[in-house]
Amino acid sequence: MTDTTVHVPVAEAVHGHRSATGLSNTKLAMWVYLGSDCLLFGSLISTYLLLRHRAVQGPGPKDVFDIPFTSVSSFVLLMSSLTMALAVASIARGDVQRNRAWLATTAMLGGVFIGGQVYEFTTFYREGLGYTTNIFGSAFYTLTGFHGIHVSVGIVMLMSLLVMSIRGNLGPERAEAVEVVGLYWHFVDIVWIVIFTVVYLIP
């Protein structure tokens, strides 16, 4: 027999937890999902890096990018991470009013970023870079489009939290719901830092 006969004291074993890791199921699921999403953006960013200078016709990155404009919208998105953190902190201390304000601010900053992206896309399109124009266009719009969809989904989640809060369903006992949305939001922001760096800043 290779089994040892060492027994864990039953009292220790009985001391059951809701979760074996100490994290709730929902939060752990969000972490696992974000791990998966890393590979999604990793694949998209690799694709973009491979293809960005291979266009045989039409405008390339240098012809369309407006780095000062995108820097401002990136700054807006990064500030939304700050307001998100403030939303998580306020609900943790039970300040429902502030929580609502910060949730709304975060959603609004996210909306400003998406508005900037829509403006950027239309400008590029007018300058001659359509989705099918060349391989750079396909790769650029796909990568940033996937990120934009992620931000939009985050805004929907924030608005759902806001509606719950206004209906009185989002007290400090459910602070974790805000925290889990916050995890997603910060992840999307971090991905943008990578995209902004490798797509816009590195020539």
Binding site: M1, T2, D3, T4, T5, V6, H7, V10, A13, V14, G16, H17, R18, S19, A20, T21, L23, N25, T26, L28, A29, M30, V32, Y33, G35, S36, D37, L39, L40, S43, T47, L50, L51, R54, A55, V56, Q57, Y131, T132, N134, I135, G137, S138, A139, T142, V153, M157, S160, L161, R167, G168, N169, L170, G171, E173, R174, A177, V180, V181, Y184
Partner: protein, 669 residues
């Protein structure tokens, strides 16, 4: 199904707070315990596991019929049963069906059914999400196969190399169905993977530490982690292909500067972990079966666990061995050649540990045991031919020949499927409350073994003689005739073996009434699922089991005497739970997972044929998400039960409204 208007609903929150909501009109809360309504609305991991198993067998039959058509076409030179074009579709659909719709969900069937039982949990972490995974998989499978009726199946091979899959070379809608269909089954796999990873990490019974988990649960956990990280890569590849084909993007358009190797890299970064996703659950199953029928604990349990983890990690570093013939350059080829040889080491550890478990054991050759030993032998043959692929110069001779076909059928059929067939015989009494007939089972095993070797053994020779894969016919006079005829005979032997299997199921069910019930523990098992009645009661465990060691259930039946020998101290009936379920707490069934899953194929048909259908699909998706979010996870109209489902061992933590919104949203993106 009735739709009732409820102007106000009381939503009970886990916090104890009560909220008024006004749903748009929800389905009547499903309460049926039997009949089709109980199945379509179930969130029970056991029913979902059974549905996964049944669907995978249906798709296995479809894929098998496609294989028979292929072998009939190749039985003799110059046959005209299939045109070249139709042959492309049949072999492509055979591969997709077998890999994504038969073997993967068969693994999911075992994992869904067994993981909660083996870790002592009441259900998976997110029961409704589990139902959504199943229905989404089924929707994707039906969507893929519906291509036969809508202009022809996919025709680019299961690996779908660019630019062969572009609209120019593949003008039918087949590859669109491939790209979107696999995207849908990928969503199902990803949701299932997140769910089962959380289940294994969080839902273990008191005392069930990671290193006390049965090897099957461990291998399933590694499989699910591989899925978490592999699925997004194939998702991206499939998105790029879809955008190229349907929206005129340029990702694989060589005249626009594209590099076709991009597809190969993305596909195989997914594709190589995928082969471990197929095989590791089967490795787990035989690691459960062999100790029971050799009457010895698994040899080197930590080595079994860590070799599985090692395979999981190293599986990410070998993908380019699929691409040795694509001109990667000598450094890449050398590096991937070495890493591929290396991954044979942890696999060899498993093979040797199984044999060491058998060594000196009191072996009883039951049908599950025969399939397990069959797996060891057949997988070793497939593994050895795999090592020959790792030798790059040899591989450039083997690439695209029948030698490759022989290799992957030995590992997927002789490996994964043998494990699953053994698992069917092993756990059938636990799942259905009656055992499959052993005599028929042995006939099934020997026919399968003979058929497998007759079909795929000769392909080694054909491949080394230079016969190409994916060619719809061959000419007389190349020396291919004899072994092709043998392989075709073998394919029909395999078909007969599966007919024997299905007859066995029907006959065993008919005979079940006149035979004694198998009881909770028919095989003198070692893991927790044998400590509860057969078939498993709806609530699994009456009380949270408390685990003190590896193979805890077995050690409740056997203890050492004064000489250190293991002697029986209790019968299974004495230590098994009665199954009265006094403290059980069950999540309520729901129709919403089924509704939500319907959205995916609708969107798929829409982007292929008509955007209006996609609009309907998006509407169904949104309605499903809202309905899901507003439906309380527990049935508020049933009387409360005096239980503790919210504390012990991580029981019912079905997501509340906010979490449901999150889930729904994650599904949508």
């Amino acid at each position: 199904m009735a739709i009732v208007e409820r102007p106000t609903d009381l939503l009970a929150l886990p916090s104890g707070g009560v909220v008024t909501q006004s749903p748009l009109g929800v389905f009547a809360r499903p309460r049926a315990k039997t009949g089709w309504r109980a199945w379509v609305s179930t969130v029970d991991h056991k029913k979902i596991g059974i549905m996964y198993g049944a669907s995978s067998l249906v798709f296995l039959v479809i894929g098998g019929l496609e294989a028979l058509v292929i072998r009939s076409q190749l039985a003799a030179p110059g046959q005209k049963l299939l045109s070249a074009d139709l042959y492309n579709q049949v072999f492509t659909m055979h591969g997709i069906t077998m890999i994504f719709l038969a073997v993967m969900p068969m693994g999911a069937a075992f994992m869904n059914y067994l993981i909660p039982l083996q870790i002592g949990a009441r259900d998976v972490a997110f029961p409704r999400l589990n139902a959504l995974s199943f229905w989404t998989f089924l929707a994707g499978g039906i969507f893929l196969n519906s291509s036969w009726l809508l202009g022809g199946g996919a025709d680019g091979g299961w690996f779908a190399y660019a630019p062969n899959t572009g609209v120019i070379f593949s003008p039918s809608h087949g590859m669109d169905f491939y790209a979107i269909g696999l995207q849908i089954t990928g969503i199902a796999s990803l949701l299932g993977a997140v769910n089962l990873v959380v289940t294994v990490l969080n839902m273990r019974a008191p005392g069930m530490t990671l290193m006390r988990m049965p090897v099957f649960t461990w291998m399933s956990f590694v499989t699910q982690m591989l899925l978490v990280f592999a699925i997004p890569v194939i998702s991206v590849a499939l998105f790029l292909l879809t955008f190229d084909r349907l929206f005129d993007a340029n990702f694989f358009n060589v005249s626009q500067g594209a590099d076709p190797l991009l597809w190969e890299h993305l596909f195989w970064i997914f594709g190589h972990p995928e082969v471990y996703i197929l095989i590791l659950p089967a490795f787990g199953i035989v690691s459960e079966i062999i100790p029971v029928f050799a009457r010895k604990p698994i040899f080197g349990y930590p080595f079994m666990v860590f070799s599985g983890i090692a395979i999981g990690f190293m599986g990410w570093g070998v993908w380019a061995h699929h691409m040795f013939a694509s001109g990667l350059g000598p450094i890449s080829v050398a590096a991937f050649s070495v890493s591929t040889m290396f991954i044979a080491v942890p696999t060899g550890v498993k093979i040797l540990n199984w044999m060491a478990t058998l060594w000196g054991g009191k072996i009883s050759f039951t049908t599950p045991m025969l399939f397990s030993i069959g797996l060891i032998a057949m997988f070793t043959i497939g593994g050895l031919s795999g090592v020959t692929h790792a030798v790059a110069p040899a591989d450039t001779q083997q690439t695209d020949t029948y030698y490759i076909v022989a290799h992957f059928h030995y590992v997927i059929f002789g490996g994964a499927l043998f494990g699953f067939l053994g698992g069917f015989y092993f756990w059938w009494p636990k799942v259905f409350g009656y055992a499959l007939n052993e005599a028929w089972g042995k006939v099934h095993f020997w026919l399968t073994l003979i058929g497998l070797n007759l079909t795929f053994g000769p392909m080694h020779i054909l491949g080394l003689q230079g016969m190409s894969r994916r060619i719809h016919t061959y000419r007389d006079g190349y020396g291919f005739n004899f072994w092709n005829a043998v392989a075709t005979v073998g394919a029909f032997v395999i078909a007969v073996s599966f007919i024997v299997f299905f007859i066995n199921i029907v006959r065993s069910k008919r005979a079940a009434g006149s035979l004694p019930a198998p009881g909770p523990d028919p095989w003198d098992g070692r893991s927790l699922e044998w400590s509860i009645p057969s078939p498993t009661p709806e609530h699994n465990f009456d009380d949270d089991p408390i685990i003190t060691q590896l193979d805890d259930f077995w050690h409740r039946k056997y203890a050492e005497d004064e000489l250190g020998r293991m002697v029986p101290v209790a019968t299974a009936a004495e230590v098994a739970m009665p199954g009265d379920g006094s403290r059980s707490h069950l999540p309520a069934p729901s129709y919403w997972p089924l509704v939500l899953s319907l959205a995916f194929p609708l969107v798929g048909y829409g982007v292929i044929f008509n955007m209006a259908i996609a609009g309907v699909g998006v509407a169904v998706l949104l309605a499903g998400m809202v309905g899901w979010a507003l439906e309380p996870p527990d049935d508020e109209d049933l009387p409360p039960h005096g239980h503790d489902g919210h504390d012990g061992g991580g029981a019912a933590t079905e997501p509340d409204v906010a979490a449901a919104v999150l889930e729904g949203v994650s599904v949508g993106d």
